[in-house]
Amino acid sequence: MSPRLVPAASDPAGRRERPLTITVDGEPLTGIAGQTVAGVLLAAGRPAWRRAPSGAPRGVFCGIGVCFDCLVTVNDERDVRACRRRARDGDAVTTQSRAQGDERDGRRAR
């Protein structure tokens, strides 16, 4: 099993769910208003989305904006920490890679 969202119906915090849709590398993913980009990705069953220099997969590690493992591009803004950015309906998220030769290698773009 993967990371998932606690169902609102059984949540003692008594919360509402307003769905939103973002795209990740063009693919639509559904999330809940208020979730971070990382939360949407995780709850959609994606534990990893970035590549380290060796090509090793990276996702969320620290969850509070310290480790920079979860960097993504949001609407053409590079190097956004997915764990800290609230997802907004319609956000176009592109994944990043630091691997040599990967077309998403950010070092050449900068």
């Binding site: 998932r4 969202l5 208020g34 090793a56 590690f61 480790c67 609230r86």
Partner: protein
């Protein structure tokens, strides 16, 4: 003294208490936090968009926190800057000119502002320390704090077969949050042995009565774990994570008091997530940028790493720099009650409040009791020196640059690379996007480096800033509240005791 402008950085228990006390003393306060809502990591709040009807269901001491948070944010002399980061502190030419200028990036899209406070309170907190082990960089391995933030902060659970491991009492609330959110917690794996835990927790139990809130909180976690039959395995550590592209199984092993592995005691467990924490690293870049003196962790470095340092403060929470105060975990990891007490003292004094105020005595006592409690916990959960025995030559030490253990050792043994900066350039450890926030203390410890102090925490740019943002001139601070009538100083609330009761 009224009308002083106090900037408080961090809106966790310490920062919120500082803002509250500074307002009570009559100051004008700007409260800055990187999150959307106050509370910090301890009172991690659900997003406003969730419109939770019972947010207190997930929180310890929610009611008093909520009361304080409404009082502060709704105060006419308080400006609340959410989703804002201090990216630099600029020291003035002469220390007589007061605390540094505070450079802030505010909101989304980020706008740049510069604040010129009369006093600065730093309450930026700490983040999880995680010691490396083979496979710790696999997806599905999270810091304990990440699992907690996701569960409490947005109701995402990291997995369904989870092990929580490392050392320290913080593992308990993390496991409890996961259980509450419906995960199966297979075990809490605590590296400290039963003798050490008992020594720290049970020795001189009368000290605990002063911290009933805290120990009561711990007991409630323990009870909850018991109800769910979650084993609390002491004297064991996770020494490896394995999986194809994500964590699938972990290896735990029995460890001795120095955390060396007992051969043959390894045990493999299938998991879909692992949450790890080996204590906390204070976020020292802002205190270092302000020029504050640091001190080694209390109790010496018998178990501490060379990078185990905190901000040095006096009884008034003053740092070595004029007009700069520090409170909460950057002065020592002592838990929320002590952080609240420190914050209240810092905010009151920073605002020019009366040093003779009676509440200060209560606050000072509460702070000292919190520190004593923290010292006991530190005694019960020291990081064993032999942990590098878990490492293999190809184990990643720096997650960003994927510097291996072998490369760090080679560099440490090379006499031409003894300077930390030279070693950094040679190995690239600490040069990646996180700027050594994660690997810094580990590398310092592995190198047995002598550069005790600010070294791993020196980051003049505390928060990544884009060139475009830098090129634009700063905007004037928006809507800074100015008191219509001179404020009447009241008294700092000595509520740490009150807050720990709910």
């Amino acid at each position: 003294m009224t009308g002083r402008h106090v900037v408080v950085v961090g809106a966790g228990p310490a920062g919120l208490a500082a803002a509250d006390a500074a307002l009570a003393a009559g100051a004008e306060v700007t409260l800055i936090d990187s999150a959307e809502r106050p509370g910090g990591q301890y009172h991690r709040m659900l997003p406003e968009a969730y419109e939770a009807t019972d947010p207190g269901a997930l929180q310890h001491g929610y009611r008093s926190f909520d009361r304080r948070s409404r009082r502060v944010l709704g105060h006419p002399r308080c400006s609340w800057w959410a989703e804002s980061s201090v990216w630099a502190l600029e020291r003035r030419d002469s220390a007589d000119d007061g605390p540094p200028l505070v450079h802030v990036l505010r909101g989304t899209p980020r706008r740049r502002h510069v604040l010129e406070p009369d006093a600065l309170v730093l309450a930026v907190g700490a983040h999880d320390r995680v010691l490396p082990f083979p496979g710790w960089d696999l997806p599905g391995v999270y810091t304990a704090g990440a699992a907690q933030a996701l569960a409490k902060g947005e109701r995402v659970v990291v997995g369904d077969r989870v092990v929580v491991a490392g050392t320290g009492p913080f593992l308990l609330p993390v496991a409890t949050s996961l259980l509450e959110a419906g995960s199966r917690v297979l075990a809490v794996v605590e590296a400290a042995g039963p003798a050490a835990v008992a020594r720290g927790w049970l020795r001189r139990p009368w000290e605990l009565t002063s911290q009933l809130g805290k120990s009561g909180e711990l007991l409630s976690y323990t009870a909850r774990l018991g109800r769910h039959r979650v084993p609390y395995r002491m004297g064991r550590a996770v020494v490896e994570a394995r999986g194809d592209g994500r964590v699938e199984e972990i290896v735990t092993a029995r460890v001795r008091a120095d955390w060396s592995v007992v051969p043959g005691s390894e045990h493999v467990t299938a998991v879909d997530a692992l949450c790890v924490g080996h204590g906390f690293t204070p976020q020292l870049e802002l205190p270092v940028a302000a020029g504050c003196d640091l001190r080694p962790a209390a109790g010496g470095s018998a178990a501490g790493s060379p990078a185990d340092v905190f901000v040095s403060v006096d009884d008034d929470q003053r740092t070595s720099r004029p007009g700069v105060y520090a409170a909460g975990e950057i002065t020592g990891v002592a838990g929320a009650p002590a952080a609240r007490a420190e914050g209240a003292v810092a905010g009151w004094i920073a605002a020019g409040g009366d040093r003779g105020a009676r509440a200060l005595v209560t606050l000072g006592r509460s702070r000292d009791q919190g520190r004593a409690f923290a010292a006991r916990l530190a005694l019960a959960h020291p990081v064993g020196r032999a942990w590098p025995g878990w490492l293999r030559p190809d184990t990643v030490i720096c997650r960003c640059e994927e510097t291996t253990y072998a490369a760090v050792c080679r560099s440490a043994a090379d006499p031409t690379r003894t300077e930390p900066q030279v070693a950094k350039l040679a190995t690239r450890a600490g040069l990646g996007p996180c700027q050594a926030r994660v690997c810094g203390p580990t590398v310092a410890e592995l190198r047995r480096s002598t550069d005790q102090g600010a070294g791993p925490h020196h980051r003049p740019v505390a928060e990544p800033i884009r060139l475009g943002e830098l090129a634009r001139p700063p905007e004037p601070p928006p809507g800074r509240a100015t008191p219509a009538t001179p404020a009447t100083p009241s008294t700092p609330t000595d509520s740490p005791a009150e807050e720990s009761t709910s």
